[in-house]
Amino acid sequence: MEAVFLTFILMLSIFLGFELINKVPATLHTPLMSGANAISGITVVGAISLAGTGQHDMAQWLGAAAVALATINVVGGYMVTDRMLAMFKKRGK
């Protein structure tokens, strides 16, 4: 049942994603991509639970490495997106 439930969530969020992203104007496509990069760093949430088991086994080291990589995405992605979006100005401002 769990699998069906998760698949249900998957289906709904893909449709929602299509609706949302279709409304993003072409001028913002680069910030959209770097922002999406940051969101894909959500893997950090999964990595945290694996890196903190305290078992000092392979899974923990892999988890810690995943935390580092995903954090690069999260921190770098949001910061660079903000840096870009700060540059977008309307005429006469």
Binding site: L6, G17, I21, H29, G46, T53, A68
Partner: protein, 454 residues
């Protein structure tokens, strides 16, 4: 589920809502920055929630990972040049993929494993692995650390098919014998190899498609990892990213009038380009003469391409734009969807140079006005303004929507030399009656024009 467990799940729900609302605010340039901030708050909330999970008994390695990742991420975000944004996004896609691969592999040791979980572990390793190496190759091509052309060899399709079969076979064996780790290693190695094989046949001009697609994969890999460790927020966030990448991929393919499979499986260089006989002659123009034409113009359209990024000419372009406006001339920019090396690349560069975003017109907006434009200035763009796409049926880019600069009264093409564009296609625009070539480095040529004005 205890009180803490419930709090964690609730935090994930709120985080998902913030991601969604953040993306919604990205629908307008005026609210986009706020949207990004909301999305970041959502991420912070999700991370804090993950940290208070009672299953976590040791924080030191989490902290080490976060500090290392945070420093690298922050430094990259601050230091990266706007012209290098495509490389950075490619690299980040790769990191996201690798993180999902590691989470997938670690999940195997951590949790209980039924066939469904094993399949999702395979998927997160497979998608994550090919995203990682594929992105590294894309990064190498974009930063010109490796040749940016399409690498093709005879029997490539066969090699790739065998690779896919080997991956499938290893995946099946892995699900049947999860305790035998050699199948796991086989899947990891094969998916890493597959990422390389999938991206090398794709040429530099097709990079906007590849980078969008890899963006999508990095989200789908996170999604698969979410299934593997039974975590909702990974699935929601991952599929939002996956959907975003897929939409951008579609837009890019449409803008090149090519199907996705055509981009992925046939290097552009290998398209048999029929010899097009181009009539007319090249008419160069001096900076001085170009200035006289521009001074008399009342409407100018600037069409930038990747060459503007290479020459770092966006700031002088803005300066010229201001001088023209002071002279009573209306200036607009025409941005082709695949101008540059990633979606929206030109818009970011021009935003960096303080060009207001409402002055940047999309192809469909600028084309109907082209006949009223006195001077169209093409800066470092080639294929996206090639009239052969409309006129020459034998041209490999025939049918691709282009910006019709040739319909303007006069066209200036700023170009280094007569070499053809990335796609290697002859451009009849250069030979048209109303076209004048301004040879030289784009930054210097525009600098020359600015000096004439002042």
């Amino acid at each position: 589920m205890g009180a803490t467990g419930l709090a964690i799940q609730l935090a994930f729900v709120i985080a998902a809502a913030l991601f969604i609302f953040g993306l919604k605010l990205l629908g307008s340039a005026a609210t986009a920055r706020k949207g990004n901030l909301l999305s970041a708050v959502g991420m912070l909330l999700a991370i804090v929630a993950a940290l208070i999970d009672q299953g976590i008994v040791e924080f030191q390695w989490i902290l080490v990972g976060m500090v290392i990742g945070g420093v690298i991420g922050a430094a990259t975000a601050r230091l990266v040049q706007m012209t290098s944004m495509p490389e950075m996004v490619a690299l980040f896609n790769g990191f996201g993929g690798m993180a999902s691969l590691l989470v997938g592999a670690a999940a195997l040791g951590a949790g209980d494993s039924n066939t469904f979980i094993l399949v999702t572990i395979v998927l997160s390793i497979l998608i994550g692995g090919l995203t990682f190496t594929g992105s590294l190759v894309a990064y190498g091509k974009l930063s010109e650390k490796i040749g940016s052309g399409a690498v093709t060899f005879s029997g490539q399709q066969i090699v790739n098919s065998l690779l896919v079969l080997a991956i499938l076979a290893s995946a099946v064996m892995f699900c049947l014998q999860p305790e035998n780790s050699q199948w796991l290693y086989a899947i990891i190695a094969l998916s890493l190899l597959f990422g390389i094989m999938a991206v090398i046949p794709i040429g530099g001009a097709d990079m906007p498609v590849v980078i969008s697609l890899l963006n999508s994969y990095s989200g789908l890999a996170a999604c698969a990892a979410g299934f593997a460790i039974n975590n909702n927020i990974l699935i929601v966030a991952g599929s939002l990213v996956g959907a975003s990448g897929i939409i951008l991929t579609q837009i890019m393919c449409k803008a090149m009038n090519r199907s996705l499979s055509n981009v992925l499986f046939s290097g552009f260089g290998s398209v048999s380009s029929a010899e097009t006989v181009v009539e007319g002659e090249i008419k160069p123009i001096s900076v001085e003469d170009a200035f006289y034409v521009l001074e008399a113009a009342s409407s100018v359209a600037i069409v930038p391409g990747y060459g503007m990024a290479v020459a770092q000419a966006q700031h002088v372009v803005k300066e010229l734009c201001e001088l023209l406006e002071e002279n009573g001339c209306e200036v607009n920019f025409g941005i082709h969807p695949v101008a540059g090396r990633m979606p929206g690349h030109m818009n970011v560069l021009l935003a960096e140079a303080d060009v207001p975003y409402d002055q940047l017109l999309e192809m469909d907006e600028i084309n109907p006005r082209m006949e009223t434009v006195d001077v169209a200035i093409v800066i470092g763009a080639n294929d996206v303004v090639n009239p052969a796409a409309r006129e020459v049926e034998s041209s490999p880019i025939y049918g691709m929507p282009v910006i019709n600069v040739d319909k303007a009264r006069t066209v200036f093409v700023l170009k280094r030399s007569m070499a053809s564009g990335f796609a290697g296609i002859e451009n009849p625009l250069f030979y048209k009656e109303n076209t004048r070539m301004l040879f030289g480095d784009a930054k210097e040529s525009i600098g020359g024009l600015i000096r004439e004005f002042s």
